[in-house]
């Protein structure tokens, strides 16, 4: 399962600052795309009927994990969006 509690096998050759510089604009852009698409859906006819769609609830849960998580964010989002194991 998620490995956030253990150090990576291969520590990143780049520092946290270098990685932030590398990725910030992509991260910003991905969030903006999500925000704008959500607004677009809400502006369209029939917005009430999809307000309770489980896919939007999934996205809300994913945003919580992004905002509050520490490590393992991707694994925890994928697990939250999965059918539970039998």
């Amino acid at each position: 399962m998620p490995k956030g509690d253990t150090p990576p096998v291969l520590p990143s050759p780049l520092s946290a600052r270098e990685l932030l510089d590398m990725h910030f604009l992509d991260m910003r852009s991905a969030l903006l795309e999500t925000a704008a698409a959500w607004d677009r859906i809400e502006r369209a006819a029939g917005a009430d009927q999809v307000a309770a769609d489980p896919r939007l609830a999934n996205l809300r849960a994913a945003l919580e994990i992004i905002a509050r998580g520490r490590g393992d964010r991707a694994a925890r989002i994928l697990t939250a969006l999965s059918d539970p194991p039998l």
Partner: protein, 286 residues
Amino acid sequence: MKVIEPHIHMIARTTQDYERMARMHTVACCEPAFWAGYDRTSARAFHDYFTHITKFEPTRAAQYQIQHYAWICINPKEADDLALAREVIAFIPEFLDKPTVLGIGEIGLNRNTKNEMTVFQEQVELALARNELIWIHTPHLKDKLRGTRMMIDYLKGRGGVDPERVCFDHAEEHTLGMIRDAGFWAAMTIYPITKNSPGRVVDALEIWGIDRMLVDASGDWGPSDPGTLHDAIFEMRRRGHPEARIETVFYNNPCYFLGQCPKFKPAPLLPREQAWSGAARTRDSA
């Protein structure tokens, strides 16, 4: 640096893609049998498909100095019709004997149904009886976690399956742990939207190490691009990883896994213990 593409559906790609791959130093590619984008209407259609990927594609690839290999099976998306599946399984051995076929694949699950599981199990038996390598397709999106767990539990419970000879493809952050803990090889598929991205693939290599890890680009009939494999190479470079480590992931590792089939010709540049030393976590310390 030479590159091997472990999973791509060249039947759906143009000759120009072979040309691009050759220019990007791809020396070999592997084509697992899969769904065509529509359900085939008879067993004969599968026979034609298997003939295409064992005859025409190796010839087309050779024009670009690329070795083309194939995996043969009835794929999970068309495995729900048991009678049809068994009709196809009956002539699979004929193709397993072809000089470019590496084993049984990509078998697996799609919607995790009972019939899919039956067809998976019957093809595992065929592979074991003939000592073939196995390439496994794990389901997409919300079905992936459950389906991956079902197949690992089955193979472990059955016993007699050497995990070194089995690769689980389309692994993501939430399935890598269970695949690796069970000792299987894991492949990560870069595929826009539904699977993985170059950035996340390199994250997984950093977190888990490079042992028993493969990366593929899965070009097929959907929005995809063989060049995304090379995007992952570039991502690993720009994140500062040494060239020898990158070469192991994209060339040596495919040689270590696929080379267990004597028909696979490319040879690794160094023994795997040496290639993985310091860059892999052994299973006991995971």
